[in-house]
Symmetry: C2
Subunit: 202 residues, 2 copies
DNA sequence: CCTACCGATCGGTAGG
DNA sequence: CCTACCGATCGGTAGG
């Protein structure tokens, strides 16, 4: 019981400096863009000078990559949970769409930056993120193809439907705000209804 | 018949230098982003050195603004033409959606840059573009509200439907390519069908 | 339309 | 964790 984790100060910085820095970077990237954000900006946001950040992160580029990698990975998990929650294809689709919408509303900054700053990634990082995004896209598309195969949907192209659905979710991150006239739940349900109609279900 | 327009060389540069420069800038902005594109890059693309561009354009920022202003203005005109083409509200909506889709497919670079680089605009320019975009949004929303008032649609929120529809169109600019497996017409018709179902028409 | 160049910015390192 | 600073980049101007 004698002094475990001696460096942990109370109050400020709940988790660790790295997370604080990534969080501050995210807010700035979302607001001003990756290129227009300087390491000094990020430092200021966490009460440090720019160069001091390099004790906690390896580079500005790595900061962007870490943010995006966690973001795609998390939304993929949400989708997997939605699919695993039932055997009914139509319900799987509805829940996958709701998860997609919830993610883009609740974590709008990550989703927004993850989309807008794709081309700010270095080649290798870009390819890794794109591959994960494609896997995510394939997850929804597979469900739609299954629904089509079972004769439960009336849309003409699984590919176009998938892209349309993902894009309308991605768009949410660009205009949604907490304290909006819609709650995240209302958004998820309404988009769920719209999508099921769009697919010609029911 | 003696030498009219003596400066006009044959071949290269069909219209005028300004248009060539804006076109080259657009391609580079779409590909590398506004910030990562240098005046020297743009110059090279039109066989000039960077500083020489300033004889034809006033600044890099102005290049971006000019591209965006023309883009929103044109898509607004397309929408107006769609609305003017018939008195049937449902058909007005379908045609407005088709116009929206066609624009984002055919002029994908402008649409893409116009969306992704919004925050690269200076304050005054930003506000002017945003105002035009809002007017465009209102155009579609008004149609949907009318359809709702006439009992022809079953969607719950004109606002959410409008945003969802616009966002799925905007997304097209991010993945569509000529020589794609879908033609622009097929895209417009399929999205038209999807949207009308989504709105609960018919 | 070009070369030369200014002034400012910025990511990252050195060295404590 | 900071100050000092390097090296590179870039928009725009001067002056022909």
């Amino acid at each position: 019981m004698d002094a475990p984790r001696p460096r942990q100060r109370a109050g400020r910085s709940r988790v660790n400096r790295g997370d604080d820095i990534r969080e501050a970077a995210l807010v700035l990237f979302a607001d001003k863009g990756y290129n227009a954000t300087t390491m000094e900006d990020i430092g200021t946001a966490v009460n440090l000078r720019g160069p001091s950040l390099y004790k906690h992160v390896s580079s500005k580029q790595d900061l962007l990559f870490a943010i995006m990698a966690k973001s795609v990975s998390d939304v993929q998990q949400d989708q997997a949970a939605a699919v695993a929650s039932t055997d009914d294809v139509l319900l799987q689709i509805r829940r996958a769409v709701e998860a997609h919408v919830r993610f883009h509303a609740r974590r709008r900054r990550e989703a927004f930056v993850g989309h807008r700053e794709l081309r700010s990634l270095d080649k290798g990082n870009y390819e890794r993120i794109i591959a994960q995004r494609r896997a995510y896209e394939l997850g929804l598309r597979t469900l739609i193809e299954r629904g089509l195969a079972e004769g439960l949907l009336r849309t003409r192209s699984a590919k176009l439907s998938t892209l349309a659905i993902l894009d309308m979710g991605i768009g949410i991150a660009g205009w949604f705000h907490e304290r909006h006239e819609f709650s995240v739940d209302e958004l998820a349900w309404e988009y769920g209804d719209m999508v099921m109609r769009q697919l010609g279900a029911g």
